[in-house]
Subunit: 341 residues, 4 copies
């Protein structure tokens, strides 16, 4: 394990867009980490990334080789989603801490296998790549909630809006690619679990492809009875806009808007709205991975757990079922193992 | 009928709080109107109001006497709700224009009787006292929608919040006393009708009386497919707060906040929130009644119609049924008679 | 004098733009007033206005005839500025209340004549047409100051911005046509008088005509020591924008922005800024004239006084001198006569 | 010089509050730096800081020993202000890059010595610790100005407000401790120099100590003719509040407010205002020092230069003279040496 004077030695599986960016981050932006091993389904690409980023990492033949390389102290899984489960299980088997990008596994059952393996190992090794809890805006919102200033949360009004999506974006991806971020962060924000979900389809925008139902509204009830509505609108045209308003017993708190220069110009008093999700959440990736690195070095991983990944997967499955059935769907999430308390 | 040089002579039935305020308004605040006849269930009270306001109005024995008084050119019905239907029908029978405070009648069936009577009479005589369409904020919002700047409306996110309500406020009054204002104004705002409604009950606030379910969320689908959610929260503690956000295909428009002095003080950048609904909508009452007076004098009543009163009543009935059933309730509103186009 | 049942009978001198609008206002928008006599330098135009507005007013040969017409109870002076002094003095001589549009007189000396005449008459008869104290925004700001919430006012940061001005607008008009509104309202807002003024000229905008110095900054010290800076920028392009921020010992209060629909559209979160001063202050004209009418009927005129008109004229003269000298100019305003306390 | 694989080895002179914080920053928060040598007027304190921060730095007998230590590649001067000039000159003599906290020297003449020494050396070695140009808000504001969106800047309205100051804060410290930050950042923001300054004293707040003139307003004219007004108010009670509004030919841009959770609570719509300057600018210190470290490693220091330190000192001297004289004071800044272009 790394001491305070030596950086954590990371192995990275997958050098696509997010993988390459995490390698850059861990090599050139964060402290106390270094990337010593990489691999990719395309080994030439892995070698190219190593060269371009100017790092001294060895290219291994596959993910298992990275995991088992003796110098590798912790793993980042940033490969294609369907491979996540295999590599995370292998990391657990090797007893090495592993940060896994979303999704933890492509099925709730796969997530459950990871949960079971981690519990069997007996110590938290897995952090799942849910980055919104590391966003300063959500953290500020949670501080307000937890302070009791607005009393108990009763309702959340949320929106997840993208300017446009490409043609390959299908109706169920409103859940699995878009809402998944809210499913992840709202459990954490409220310290609560989802009980049931319902999906309604408003009048469709003329700006979406013919096959896509857009917008959608997802209605969620939590175990504590808090009601959440999330508008998912992925062709809203005007911007990338994430809203979250928490209505408490005595007051309302709202996720901060990104800080912007206020302009008076052309008969408008205006603030720019971001168009790209990266501008909104890029800083949270740094904080998230630094937290993983610091957690591993301290011997205590605190970030989103395998259980959180499983719970999000169960919720997403229920939402997709609710899209199809038009009815209220109960999640049936098992009780949280004490291991994760 | 009044000419440009003579004010409209009004008869007012009911001198309770709202009646007295309308008498004051028509006598001392609006132009081209004068109150010449009043009555009340309590005739002494009617006389007292006449004296206190310093007006030269005759006190009649009952509503029918007011309606039939030869000098009375138009009627204001501000008596107890269950009497509205009778007096409005009588005014129609007398061929006199009538402004009726909410509700037009206490049942949808009663509203329908008025609609039928007015159609039979052959000319619009009735304006129902829905004042929000006369609020400058809603009018500005409607201008934005109608301008096409945000494209077709797809979703509305609304809230109706009161600081507290007294103990006699029951769960169904969240519909009949509170939501009714949204039911009235949103049809007008969208130029659309409601198709179905659903009510969900979030975790209850600890600040409400034991018998009251508060907050509630009402989910409405319109004929055009627009989805409306209205949070009704009548013990929100912090203020009287009316929110309406219209999500269109290309942009979002939001009901203006009341204009307030911005303060930097005690570590807060703040604007006051109103605590009393009267401060929010008082100006709209002036505009509403002036519109009625002007309409009668011009021979052309344009305000909220008996049909609007009927449609709101049907919607309210459906919402109360939805509160009780927990299911989606279809309105079954008949087609709008061409008389009201 | 009018009783509660009869409207105040007004004579109007001058039927140009503002005169015509005041006639319309007093005839068709306000209560308890009627216009019975008018005149203009162009009598045909006066007759045309009477006809177009559909009022029963007699056209008199000149202002003195209006003032002396027996049926006329109060006067509105809305003629060309250089004639104001003469007509206001004549109204005082006739013992009739008179509302005089800005300026009260074209020189401070002329204003002083009016002050002297009114004091000699022994009762307030004159209200000068400074409308900003009747604007709801300024009134709300004054309520905050007077409440003590922000402690004693120490500094005011103000701006008066117009999109553009025509070529005939000269450098000194930044004082006499533009700043005059701040000179009028800020004395009232602070209940204070101006002690000295200084004018500085920033880098000139390329959007102004060659002969015009634009923008300008006027620095004012009050008798109590409060420091006021007013940016006058009459080719700011983007809007008609009036700003006033009051920095007190314990907090800061800011003049409300006009209430607007908030839009999310085209990568901007925006509120419209007005382009036309009329949209900003039109409502204040109604309130201002209604206050005059009510004041006359109650026998007690409370609005901006002849002394206020004189003080504004003295301040404007000092500002023009400061424009020319580049130095700090003392006002030398005489002590306020007890008559005006 | 450090290569990409080895961190920059820093020597730190002065382990007081800011020195200790910079040591922590360079050791545990920034990348590519390590602190290898420290000293302080109190050597025991230096040793204590080294121990507490858990770093492997040697404690040297004095600043010159740190500068001349062979392993030290760059210097941070965070000692008492009057010693800055000596240590910066020594670092230049040793040919080692040096980051010097404000002030560069306690006199303009001292700053000039440093400028002359650096020019004589022939390569930029000095970065002065002006951190506001590294604040994301100011950077965003500068991007807007530089984009041409608001045209040429004509006026700046600024405010620097602190809740309170201790008794030892004297009237001239409003310039040397407080305004100095604006003097530093506004030259950078506008890419302009100051030509003359004037100071006016508003009515004094009752919340300041008797000896202190508070608030003050500093009026600055730049070489390009832009007019800047800065309100300095160090007992404003309500918060630490930094305002900067840039009025351009076609629009106005305003420094962003710190991002905060919006609250609806207790009849107020509010955002928190910071009370402590550290919360406002702490992130800028990280960016500033990382820029120095990166610049040294890249062989190219880009941050605020010795010339910027000199220009700020000349401007501060002029402001203090203007406080005392009450007149407009010309700066007489010499032409910028081409070395600093």
């Amino acid at each position: 394990m790394a001491t305070s004077s030596t950086p954590l030695k990371l192995g990275v599986i997958g050098t696509g867009a997010i993988g390459r960016d995490h390698i850059r981050r861990c090599s050139h932006a964060l402290i106390n980490s270094t990337v010593v091993a990489v691999t990719d389904i395309n080994l030439e690409h892995a070698a190219k990334v190593v060269a371009e980023l100017g790092i001294a990492a060895e290219v291994y033949a596959d993910g298992h080789a990275v995991i088992n390389a003796p110098e590798v102290e912790a793993i980042l899984v940033t490969s294609w989603g369907p491979t996540h489960e295999e590599f995370v299980l292998a990391a657990i088997a090797a007893g090495k801490p592993v940060f896994c990008e979303k999704p933890l596994a492509v099925t709730a059952e796969g997530c459950r296998h990871i949960v079971d393996a981690e519990i069997a190992y007996g110590k938290r090794l897995v952090q799942v790549g849910f980055m919104r809890p590391y966003d300063e805006g959500y953290r500020a919102l949670k501080r307000v909630i937890d302070s009791g200033q607005i009393g108990e949360p009763l309702m959340l009004h949320c929106a997840h809006r993208n300017p446009t999506v490409p043609e390959q974006y299908k109706t169920d991806m409103a859940i699995t690619d878009t809402l998944i971020h809210e499913l992840d962060v709202l459990r954490w924000l409220l310290a609560d679990d989802y009980k049931s979900v319902q999906v309604v389809f408003p009048r469709k925008t003329s700006k979406a492809f013919a096959h896509l139902k857009d917008p959608q509204i997802v209605l969620i009830e939590t175990v504590k009875g808090t009601r959440i509505d999330v508008e998912v609108f992925v062709n809203c045209q005007y911007g990338y806009d994430i809203q979250c308003e928490v209505v408490g017993e005595t007051g309302i708190a709202r996720l901060p808007e990104p800080s912007q220069v206020q302009l008076r110009s052309e008969a408008k008093l205006s603030n720019a709205i971001l168009m790209d999700w990266k501008d909104r959440f890029i800083a949270a990736y740094d904080v998230e991975l630094q937290a993983f690195i610091d957690g591993v070095r301290a011997g205590h991983i605190n970030g989103p757990s395998a259980w959180d990944g499983f719970a999000a997967a169960v919720a997403a499955d229920a939402c997709v079922a609710a899209q199809q059935s038009g009815t209220i769907v109960e999640l049936g999430l098992p009780a949280r193992p004490s291991f994760y308390n």
